[in-house]
Amino acid sequence: MKRILVYMMVGLMLATTAAMAQGKKKADADKAQPSQPVTHPQLADLLVKALGLVRFLPNAPSAQQMFDILMQNGIAPQDGWKLDAVVTKADLARVIVQALRAQDLVENPNDPQAWINVLKEMGISIDRLSETIQSVEALPEAIGQDVTMASTDPLVKGPSTVQYSVDLNLVVRVLSEMEMVSGEFRPISPTPH
């Protein structure tokens, strides 16, 4: 079995080398081209990092897993997140206002311009995404489903204890003399909380 892991590590290194070379070529080519439109997955990636939501996600999350955690925190474009959609100004204004928890300032939520106006009043420009994204910071009351608790994936499952901001530890250790007499019943996974 150790041999399998060694093969995987060698494979990882080879793949890294090959892809880095390919990526460098592509990056050089990209420099010569005008900037590309931003897609929903790219915006979601920027948002989960800026809002501190990465800790709720499995390692190397998929685009839809990022959409999911943003939706759980009430952040979504008017027509929802889509894998191949391009971000419009209306989309961007809406998700930034939601990320700033300022949606109660929007006078008419059905009017896309109303979301843009709120950002204008706050002095936030939506002309450049890299600048706009800097206006948001880690959500102090971020919530998320505990993916480690429901997961059957050995790459994901583990001992987390908080879901939707409430304590959620299933095997809370309340022991009694009977258990100590009957034998060792220590949980295999630690249950510290």
Partner: protein, 409 residues
């Protein structure tokens, strides 16, 4: 009590300084403090010969948590760090009244190129859980332990719609206390419970349309208890193979499904290989802008919650709701049910029989935002364990607390 007074004074000082720090809102570092006072109706329970059943020990408690969040976002690199030490003090838990816990989470991502990225995540849990005694009873052995999980994933985007993830994970659980004599004079050793696990995995994702992604995955896991006696050998190797689906059903509904088969081979020749299906389902639904609902369910072979079984078959289901009652008042509710099924064929002790354990948990929190940096909160948690395993005790536990959270900077 003096320790609590010092802690409270420190928290108040920090609160006074908070507005100054909060002014620098663009800082990549944030620190939150959360202080909760509450009551727990079942800190532990012991047999009471004068009563029918078990005697619960209740206690007033104070929980102090400091949470430090670091988020560094560069053009190609992201580093996220979260450290949360917690001090839990019980008024009526003699003679050890304090537990001390550390949670550390690290996330690192680097994009080597538009098609290749490396993601690292590490979770460290360190728990100081001292031995508890009630007169002559040992209620809890010394349980100081360290748990660490490190996972690395290399993601290669072969085509815009196709991504290959190659992952490795290392998990370590170690009880840190040396062998010692308990109050009854018995030598207590935890070495046999220490374990490490290595996982290798490969996932191929194929985006089918703007709303659907299909996945194929394979995993290998090895679990080793390096210090266990031959009689308590629980070492195992497992292979997993399965398919997954991620689907956006509507702007308000998103879900994912994963299913496959696990084949587990035990190192101990006394046990047959165990082949079981696994599956998990998760749905997130936004019925209104103010309400978020997430449900999940899963079934699989799982690490045993009790040491004298090789493994368990676990069914898990949970439902969580977040609702913004007003812009400042938020309500969170989460409930979970677990059915752990233990098969006598996989018991280390041949006298043990088949058994089930049912766990119910409901947890809720009401949070009120006083201003930009202060929150008041109230919480309630109910836990019930219903066990028919021989020698394992069922219990119910209620906990309530009131808290104050402040974003220091």
């Amino acid at each position: 009590m003096k320790r609590i007074q010092i802690l409270a004074a420190a928290v108040l000082l920090l609160a006074m300084a908070a507005p100054v720090w909060a002014a620098s809102a663009s800082s990549p570092i944030h620190v939150n403090n959360r202080l909760r006072v509450g009551w727990d109706d079942n800190v532990y329970q012991v047999d009471d010969p004068s009563a029918s059943g078990l005697d619960k020990q209740d206690s007033f408690r104070i929980i102090e948590e400091i949470e430090a969040l670091v988020s560094l976002n560069f053009e190609r690199t992201y580093l996220g760090l979260r450290y949360r030490p917690s001090l839990v003090w019980y008024s009526d838990r003699e003679d050890e009244d304090t537990d001390f816990l550390h949670d550390l989470d690290l996330n690192f991502t680097h994009n080597f190129s538009p098609v290749l990225s490396l993601s690292l995540a590490d979770s460290l849990r360190a728990s100081q859980l001292p031995e508890l005694q009630d007169e002559t009873y040992v209620v809890r052995q010394d349980d100081d332990n360290i748990y660490n999980s490190a996972v690395a994933t290399l993601s290669y985007t072969m085509r815009p719609e196709t991504r290959l993830d190659l992952s490795g994970r290392y998990i370590l659980l170690e009880y840190t206390e040396d062998d010692y004599q308990d109050a009854a004079g018995n030598v207590v050793s935890h070495d046999g419970d220490n374990y490490y696990s290595m996982v290798g995995g490969l996932t191929l994702r194929q985006q089918l349309a703007s709303l659907t992604t299909l996945m194929v995955d394979g995993r290998y896991q090895s679990v080793v208890y390096p210090d266990a006696d031959d009689a308590d050998n629980r070492d195992a190797d497992s292979f997993f193979g399965g398919l997954g689906l991620e689907q956006t059903f509507s702007p308000q509904l998103i879900g994912n499904l994963r299913a496959g088969v696990e084949h587990r081979m035990y190192d101990n020749d006394a046990f047959d290989d165990n082949t079981q299906p696994y599956g998990e389902l998760s749905l997130t639904f936004l019925p209104s802008p103010a309400t978020r609902i997430t449900g999940s369910a899963s079934y699989s072979i799982y690490e045993s919650d009790v040491s004298n079984f090789m493994s368990q078959d676990r069914f898990y289901a949970s439902l969580s709701v977040a609702h913004d009652l007003t812009a400042k008042l938020n309500f969170y509710l989460s409930g979970a049910y677990t059915l752990n099924a233990y098969d006598a064929d996989y018991a280390l002790d041949p006298t043990l029989e088949d058994g089930d354990e049912n766990t119910f948990l409901v947890s809720m929190r009401l949070s009120y935002r006083l201003n930009r940096v202060n929150w008041l909160e109230a919480g309630y948690q109910f836990v019930m364990l219903d066990s028919d395993l021989n020698g394992r005790e069922s219990y119910e536990r209620n906990r309530v607390d009131l808290g104050w959270k402040i974003q220091l900077f």
